[in-house]
Amino acid sequence: MAGSTTLVVGIGNAARADDAAGLVAARRVREMLAACPDMAEPGRVAVVEHDGEGTNLVTLWEGHETVILIDAVSSGAPPGSILRFDACSQPIPPQIRACSTHAFGVAEAVELARALGRLPPRLIVYGIEGRSFSAGAAMSAEVEAALAVVAERVLVDAR
């Protein structure tokens, strides 16, 4: 992972329905990469799954040119909506802040890194709007469909 140009981080909790969106999208990206010989070269793109603990994220992305985060969000938009923004040029939008039950989550990680001057040169955040975050429930169909779209777009960003 260390030294790869691009780092894709899928974030979520596998046991909480749509909260798994980031993890499943990351697995999808990994499968698609394996099928693209030029992108599967060592050192090109690394994919990791993460639980979203913020302080770990700040140190995780050190040394990578491009970092792409994929996480489920709960902003009130229709389930399955996809949000994409460049976190280097704008702060985390307020509607997706403070929706993490983690004490120190993804939004905090990005803003802490900004305050410390430790943002990667390029940081793209994908948010997939969830419908259900219930423990043990299945992922909703809208989110399944959305994460497939996100995985395709991530591959383009990583190219």
Partner: protein
């Protein structure tokens, strides 16, 4: 009479979701409620019928901050239930893994969640924007990374370690893998000593409570994995008698249970202050020395000082981790074979937030027939409310915003892990 309310609808900088409500009439506090609305966790119910070896991995999911604690209490309890003795060396490796978790958890709480309260900052993000404070945020990130790294090397990955099992470890690290961490741990030890000196200069509210402190205690070591349950009242009991001395009561408004001393009906306190007050003489030398230098002499009864005590404990964890690595040889074999047999076992270990008790019953196939998990935050809930009853009168005269912030700061002293502590009552529907 004028009525005032302090409402914090969403407690920030705690793990999980909860709310705090305080009602004041005139000069008196008339109600204090800590409401928990994190979705109930059904772990005790869904463990039933699972294979004993799955319990370690399932309970680790209760908390992203202290998964090792759940793994440790579960593994020990199930080993007792089935009469398993792990091979030599497993004990030390488990302690080393636990050191990593205490470092991660304490550093996160001290610098990212609690310190902003003492510095008039909204968060560690605003702290990072202050050139005077930024070095401490950087220090914290690096110390936490070292703790993560230690957990990763032993546990197989950072967040929910996968190497721990009933009987020992699926895989033990090579000596060289652990030796590679030593220089970082030595740096961490120095860094934490200097961070303690800095933290000693913070402004600690003048507030003391005559607590009943409860923690594990061991004759030869600072408590982590083993010991008897000790109380500041002089009690010393084996862990499997815990439930007859401390009981949980359901409180209608909350998904969490409240623990009390079974005899007195009063709240008690688990966590760093309790551990330190009952065990400070078994801290490693650098930890004892910094505690002395900072004037921390047991019993420390000011809950706000828990920030400093966490610092002292973290110094100890760095120090002990170095010593354990120096003496490390991979346990061979890394685990004892386990022959399932019916039995019951209870065990408690010291999670970063305090005593974590597990009890399991296992059938002849090794399937779980009953599970009981009493997390430290649940044990502290009643104590947090009692603290607020006592504390609020001292901040009543302050502007509303400041009074509210002080109450939140007091709750954060407990580093409450609300997601660990929520339960759901068994529901019986009676139809007539």
């Amino acid at each position: 009479m004028a009525e005032r309310r302090i409402n914090v609808d969403y407690l920030a900088r705690v793990e999980g979701e909860g709310a705090l409500r305080v009602k004041i009439e005139g000069d008196s506090v008339t109600d204090v409620r800590l409401d928990i609305y994190e979705p109930p966790r059904l772990f005790e119910a869904f463990l039933r019928g699972r294979n004993f070896q799955e319990v370690v991995d399932i309970t680790a999911r209760i908390c992203g901050i202290c998964p090792v604690a759940y793994q440790m209490s579960a593994a020990h309890a199930l080993e007792k239930a089935m009469g398993v003795t792990p091979p030599p060396g497993v004990r030390q490796l488990r302690r080393l893994l636990y050191c990593g978790e205490h470092i991660e958890s304490h550093v996160l709480h001290m610098f990212m969640l609690h310190a902003p309260d003492f510095l008039g900052h909204e968060s560690s993000i605003s702290m990072a924007g202050d050139p005077q404070l930024r070095p401490y945020v950087e220090l914290a990130l690096r110390m936490k990374k070292i703790g993560n790294h230690l957990v990763t090397v032993i546990g197989g990955r950072e967040i929910h370690p996968i190497s721990v099992c009933v009987g020992g470890f699926y895989r033990a690290p090579k000596r060289s893998e652990l030796l590679a961490l030593k220089s970082d741990l030595e740096w961490g030890l120095e860094a934490m000593v200097s961070a303690c000196r800095w933290a000693a200069g913070l402004d600690y509210p003048d507030f003391e409570v005559d607590y009943e402190f409860v923690a594990l205690s061991h004759p030869n070591e600072y408590p982590l994995n083993e010991g008897r349950i000790h109380s500041s009242t002089g009690k010393s009991i084996p862990v499997d008698e815990f439930e007859s001395h401390y009981v949980e009561e359901h409180v209608a408004r909350s998904n969490a249970l409240h623990s009390v001393n079974a005899r007195t009906g009063n709240s008690y306190k688990v966590g760093p202050l309790a551990r330190f007050n009952l065990n400070s003489e078994r801290l490693y030398p650098a930890a004892q020395s910094i505690a002395r230098e900072l004037g921390l002499t047991p019993p420390v009864r000011n809950p706000f000082m828990s920030l400093l005590v966490r610092g002292v404990e973290t110094v100890h964890m760095f120090e002990e981790a170095i010593a354990l690595i120096d003496g490390y040889a991979p346990p061979e074999p890394p685990r004892a074979p386990v022959q399932p047999k019916p039995g019951e076992g209870a065990h408690a270990t010291e999670a970063p937030r305090g005593t974590l008790y597990h009890r399991y019953k296992v059938d002849e196939q090794g399937l779980i027939t009953s599970a009981r998990i009493i997390p430290p935050t649940a044990q502290n809930f009643r104590r947090m409310e009692d603290d607020l009853w006592k504390f609020v009168p001292s901040v009543i005269s302050k502007p509303h915003e400041e009074a509210t912030l002080r109450c939140e700061q007091l709750v954060r002293c407990y580093d409450p892990c609300i997601s660990c502590a929520t339960h759901f009552l068994k529901l019986d529907i009676v139809r007539e």
